[in-house]
């Protein structure tokens, strides 16, 4: 690129997204290819917004045993539905509307057996939803405008089976709790260590005196 891309200095834009997959068992194992599950891998904005404003396309790279291993989705919903018998890592590459902004890659390990979630209908389904945030550091001017154009205000609660806010809160609480515990232990160890040091100095001085 010969021309210089102008970037928004000192600006950071954060776009929460969720990626994951759902999976259900086929009624019976297909004899032709031994497939046992039907699954859908997806990527969605976490907020209620129009992702086409800033996402140009999403590329899902499946296991090499699939025909057309690389699937490109240019319109929402960004998802791929397939059948299979095994878990593998899906590479999700997001391309942005401004091609000067380099695409980024997320890896999602496709789950077929765990964790199970019960739908309101009573049906059970395997579902993982991973919350993450895309951080645009000093985005290009064009990208910045695109990101501003679709600013989601509220979380999109309908699209996800998990209560992601709750997951976030629980994770944070666990972390903070553990932090408190460990901070206290560090303080304890430090104090003990200091006292031990004092004692060592004291006793060695006594010993030297004796001799």
């Amino acid at each position: 690129m010969a021309d210089i891309v102008e970037r928004m200095k000192k600006k950071t834009v954060v776009k929460p997204i969720v990626y994951g997959n759902t999976a259900t068992r086929l009624e019976q194992k297909r004899e032709s290819d031994q497939h046992t599950h039907k699954w859908t891998v997806f990527l969605r904005p976490y907020m209620l917004e129009d992702p086409t404003k800033w996402i140009r396309k999403v590329q899902f790279k499946l296991h090499e045993s699939y025909a057309n291993q690389t699937r490109i989705i240019e319109e929402p919903p960004y998802e791929v539905t397939e059948t299979g018998w095994g878990e593998f890592e899906v590479q999700i590459r997001i391309y942005f509307v401004d091609s000067n902004e380099k695409p980024i890659v997320a890896f999602h390990y496709l789950r077929l057996f765990q964790p199970l979630i019960e739908l309101p209908s009573g049906e059970q389904i395997v579902c993982t939803e991973f919350y993450d945030e895309i951080i645009f550091q000093e985005p290009t001017v064009q990208m910045y405008r695109a990101l501003q154009a679709s600013e989601g205000k509220r979380p999109d609660k309908q699209s996800f089976l998990n209560d992601i806010e709750q997951v976030k809160n629980r994770t944070r609480e666990l972390g903070e709790h553990a932090q408190k515990e460990i901070a206290a232990e560090i303080e304890d160890l430090r104090e003990t260590l200091k006292d031990a040091h004092k004692l060592i100095v004291k006793y060695s001085a006594e010993l030297v005196e004796q001799e």
Partner: protein
């Protein structure tokens, strides 16, 4: 070249030129420039007609592609150079389609003339008097400058020193000229900005250049040798400074917190450092690794920071550094699992911060625990030696880090006098073991044996106390 000349002279002698291009068999071939030796060895001495490059350099005739256009007409025209004052008429060739008597002679504009200041008698008397310059010589100098447009080389060349019987260097001339011009201009307009001439500087500069130019090859060689020597000396100096710095750091480390790099080896490294210190001081345990309570940063894990512009995922900010080592990684995994936390949690900003801090703290606990083990061991050996002298002291349970079982302390062992302030649950999951603890003990013995203040008895006691696994009653 020869080909060009031949073509120009139109005396084509194909037979001779061909002979030149293809050397006779048996003649030694020279390797063409840029050809790999291996390739040349393959083809040397063989018939090369098939591998010879066919794209030969363009000859003189091809370069100047004449004969495309009809020859233009030129005319022999008289012209007057406006730059001259004598109106001399000369002739030159002009393309017939470009004859225009109105256009001035194109080179006339290069005849720049510079205004050299003039002065009156009054002005001369007011500010231009100089003990070494007569009025006549000054006039002569200014006249010369005017005549040659202050082209100093010419002025200097034409300046007739004999006329006034004083030898002047170019700098003398310049100095006189510029200083008087400066004074004159300042007198006329005190606000004018004038450049001054530093003759002394100019003289030095020329002298320096002369000297540099007149250096002999021996002097050049000597200079090169000297610069090389200087470089060597500086390198050695840097090395020495680095060593001194390292040593200083080592000494400081024994008094201050363990650094993250040393944390992995834990007790072994600290004990080593301690030994260095001890042999120097001649007494036991002068320094123990002390942890600065406010200093978290030294032990902290270094998570990748995303400073450059571009997009990235939040979860990338939580990636553990790849070089942290198996033991630390294992400790982090175990503690996270025991705290029911995930290795890769959902990645919001606050979660990222909490998790990253927490994992740094785990490493810190590992360092602290390892230091505690060393301290406990040290206390034990001191106690043994005290007992030999008929004295004794208690080691409080809170120092007994080696007796901490997985899962932490029971409630009744926490908070009391001499007891630990916390249950040390997380500490208990962290593995800070020192595989070479026996090695430390043996090293300790050696150090003691060579320390002159020690008598023979403690060394045997050290051997006994040197086994930390040996059960002992308080």
């Amino acid at each position: 070249m020869i080909g060009d000349v031949q073509q120009i002279l139109q005396c084509s002698e194909p037979s001779t030129s061909n002979v030149k291009k293809t050397p006779k068999a048996g003649q030694i071939q020279k390797k063409p420039e840029g050809m790999k030796r291996e390739l040349f060895n393959l083809i040397a001495g063989k018939d090369l007609t098939s591998v010879m490059p066919t794209d030969v350099k363009k000859t003189y005739k091809q370069k100047f592609q004449t004969g495309f256009r009809a020859v233009r007409k030129y005319k022999w025209m008289p012209f007057i150079n406006e730059g001259r004052e004598d109106g001399l008429q000369l002739h030159h060739w002009v393309r017939s389609d470009r004859i225009d008597p109105e256009t001035p002679y194109p080179f006339a504009k290069f005849n720049k003339s510079i205004d050299v200041v003039t002065y009156t008698d009054d002005e001369y008397n007011a500010c231009m008097r100089h003990p070494k310059w007569s009025r006549e010589e000054t006039d002569y100098l200014f006249e010369m400058c005017r005549r040659f447009d202050i082209r100093w080389l010419i002025v200097y060349d034409r300046y007739d020193c004999k006329k006034f019987g004083v030898n002047r260097t170019m700098e003398d001339l310049k100095e006189r000229f510029y200083n008087t011009s400066y004074d004159l201009n300042m007198m006329r307009d005190p606000c004018s900005s004038q450049a001054n001439f530093d003759a002394e500087h100019e003289r030095r500069r020329k002298e320096q250049l002369n000297k540099q130019w007149n250096r002999t090859p021996e002097q050049l060689k000597e200079e090169e040798d000297l610069t090389a020597e200087l470089r060597r000396i500086e390198l050695r100096k840097k090395e020495r400074e680095k060593k001194a710095h390292d040593l200083q750091k080592l000494i400081n480390m024994t008094e201050q917190p363990a650094s993250p790099s040393a944390g992995g080896v834990g007790g072994a490294a600290t004990a080593k450092r301690k030994n260095v210190f001890r042999t120097k001081a001649g007494s036991i345990s002068v320094a123990m690794p002390m942890f600065n309570p406010n200093d978290m940063s030294t032990t902290a894990l270094r998570f990748s920071e995303f400073k450059s512009s571009g997009a990235h995922f939040r979860c990338q900010e939580m990636k553990l550094p790849t070089n942290i080592g198996q033991k630390k990684l294992k400790n982090i995994e175990v503690v996270l699992e025991k705290c029911k936390m995930e290795m890769n949690p959902v990645a919001s900003e606050s979660i990222m911060k909490t998790y990253n801090d927490f994992r740094s703290q785990i490493i810190m606990v590992q360092d602290l625990k390892s230091a505690m083990q060393t301290a406990e061991f040290e206390l034990e050996s001191l106690r043994t030696r005290m007992q030999e002298q008929g004295k004794d002291f208690d080691i409080e349970p809170r120092f007994r880090i080696s007796q901490l079982n997985e899962g932490g302390l029971d409630e009744d062992a926490v908070g009391g006098p001499g007891q630990a302030a916390t249950a040390r649950r997380i500490t208990s999951y962290v593995d800070a073991s020192n595989k070479d603890i026996t090695q430390i003990a043996s090293r300790k013995r050696k150090t003691l044996a060579v320390t002159p203040t020690q008598n023979a008895a403690p060394s045997t006691s050290m051997a006994m106390g040197g086994d930390p696994k040996r059960p002992r009653k308080i």
